[in-house]
Symmetry: C2
Subunit: 342 residues, 2 copies
DNA sequence: ATTGGCACTCGGGAAAGTTGAGTGCCAAGG
DNA sequence: CCTTGGCACTCAACTTTCCCGAGTGCCAAT
């Protein structure tokens, strides 16, 4: 139907205006700002229908309409044409990220960049251990009975563990241990490395104490959930900008941002690098965040995502813009990581 | 003079009440809540004097008094008796921090702890590189021409650097390099290690390219300012609690918290572990933070501080409590670090 | 020096009034 | 059957006015 189309156009207009002005939008203002080719009265009729469908609502009787969560949902699902980044923006992104060398740098720059592009709070997850492969295991004897294990992964991540041994090792023991560990685990995926390592002690058939202790510690480091939970947050100052009636939501936001577990859960839904996932308001599991939305995606080689990144902001946000920015940054991060892996 | 003493008592009472109630305190309320043994009229006279001295002020003519920055200053300098932590608190701190193993853990737990104890925003700086000694340098060949340098320091910090070489190295070359580097730098302080390393290439008199590249990279890692700038922030959610008229200050706060350089500058004044430094309001260099105070101290062995930690909050804060908490946490962190260094 | 008394100030909350954007509905016109 | 201009109605939010009472400064008495 022709009417159906126009109603959607009206919805889109409402969303766009509301996002831009932060104020309920009325029929008159709508026809003025968008050339809809119909009169306010007609728009009012359409609005009535949209309201019946639960896509928009009025804060109070004599006010304009604002989109509901459902309205935003429909908007992002069907009415959003991803606006490509301007070439200036592309260049800015590229040059900003290319200055980075080590992993920390890439991650930190990404958060800042994303926060700046979207003017929202940005979240970037460190590459998960699960997907990466072991590049090297270093064993350093701090004292004869105290070892520092350094685990170097393909993504550039470095994990460290201290092990206290009940016996003293000679330098040769250490060198032997190192080479055995590396022979078993190098190049393997974490999961495979874990099993390969687990098989080690028996294989060698020595007095298993030191080796098994070391292995246990390594396995622990590899399956360490805490490390998998590493995320970096940036652009918190943008929270203040939300202001104007959003104050009540700011506290739960700040709390969530400190709870990295929560953040990971929010990001967790979006692992595929090929899609940008949007969670709107109360769609998520957290009551307190019912007025915030999350725009996220995965990064890494697209058949094998290694992490997620995204932004968090009020439900009233610029979805097309955010989605474009999130996607763009994710792509660049993917490329950079890929280069450094070569 | 006897009057002098009472006036100070009045100032203390004003500070305490204002901190507790967040509201300007009047003469009548004062005598009711504190047994000063004098009448409101007398207190009013004292107040007039205090106001003349610039220690207190009235927001508007017919209101109670609030302390000025100068008033707080005098309060913390002369009227604060550090209240010791309760033994329950001590135990809580100890058990909370003792669960930590690696350095990251200690730092992260400390921030949380400090934020929780003070109900303010907490900042903890990573141990500076400058003071630590080199424990081990690991060289890993990722490809024949690509080295990963891992620098392990006495504080448990691990720095990594990638080096691209114009030539290819054999495993023996790498092993040789590693042992030479370690012989030169191990056990040295960063500063000494830098010079020792710088002397290396000539000493050996080889075609200096790979070695000097590696050395340059190591030196860079050691003098890396970015790493020295590492700070962790926690308890941001407490910002929301400040609320009620403090909203205008919340944005600059959030901004400052993202600018780690700023934070370091704030902490930088307080490096000695034996003193707790307090910066009140406009005493600091940042215009925007004129309504916030910093309570900080150094940690580490007291003759050789390795880092600082502290809290940031509104000028209207519980100074005695904050100072006690900051000091307590700094002490525990010092102990823990000391143990793990043994 | 301290204190009770007293006139004065003034921020801020309650009550009342005003405005105008926005709505829903209806009847007329394509 | 959809669109449109007209119209009466609603109600949040702003402005104005009013009032109260906490708090002050000053003074005269002790």
């Amino acid at each position: 139907m022709a009417h159906e189309d126009r109603r959607l156009a009206v919805l889109r207009a409402i969303v766009e205006d509301y996002v831009a002005t932060r104020e309920p939008v009325g029929s008159k203002a709508l026809v003025e700002r968008h050339k809809l080719g119909v009169s306010p009265a007609t728009v009012r009729n359409d609005m009535a229908v949209l309201e019946e469908e639960g896509l928009i609502a009025q804060p109070h009787t004599s006010a304009g309409r604002i989109p509901t969560d459902k309205g935003y949902r429909l908007f992002v699902d069907r009415l959003t044409r991803l606006k490509p980044m301007s070439s200036a923006e592309r260049r800015a992104i590229a040059s900003f990220l290319e200055g980075a060398h080590d992993l920390d740098d890439v991650i930190n720059r990404s958060v800042r960049l994303l926060a700046q592009l979207t003017q929202q709070v940005a979240i970037v997850q460190y590459p998960t251990l699960a997907r990466s492969t072991v590049r090297h295991i270093e064993v350093v004897a701090l004292t004869p009975s105290r070892l520092l294990l350094v685990l170097i992964l393909s993504t550039g991540r470095v994990e460290q563990r201290l092990v206290e041994l009940p016996v003293e090792l000679t330098d040769d023991d250490v060198a032997d241990l190192r080479s055995r560990l590396n022979r078993a685990a190098m190049g393997e995926r974490i999961t495979d490395a874990v099993s390969a390592l687990a098989a080690l002690p028996q294989q060698v058939g020595e007095t298993s104490t030191p080796t098994s202790l070391v292995v246990a510690s390594l396995v622990e480091a590899m399956s360490n959930h805490r490390s998998d939970e590493r995320v970096v947050v940036g652009g918190t100052a943008n929270l203040a900008r939300f202001g104007e009636g959003f104050e009540s939501a700011i506290k739960p936001m700040l709390e969530a941002l400190e709870e990295h577990v929560v953040l990971l859960k929010l990001l967790g839904e979006a692992t595929s690098p090929s899609t940008v996932t949007v969670r709107i308001g109360a769609e998520g599991p957290y009551e307190e965040l019912s007025r915030t939305s999350v725009v996220a995606t995965g990064y890494g080689p697209f058949d094998e995502p290694v992490g997620s990144l995204g932004i968090v902001g009020p439900t009233r946000m610029d979805y097309p813009g955010s989605m474009a920015a999130v996607r763009a940054v994710a792509r660049y991060v993917s490329t950079i990581l890929d280069e450094s892996r070569s």
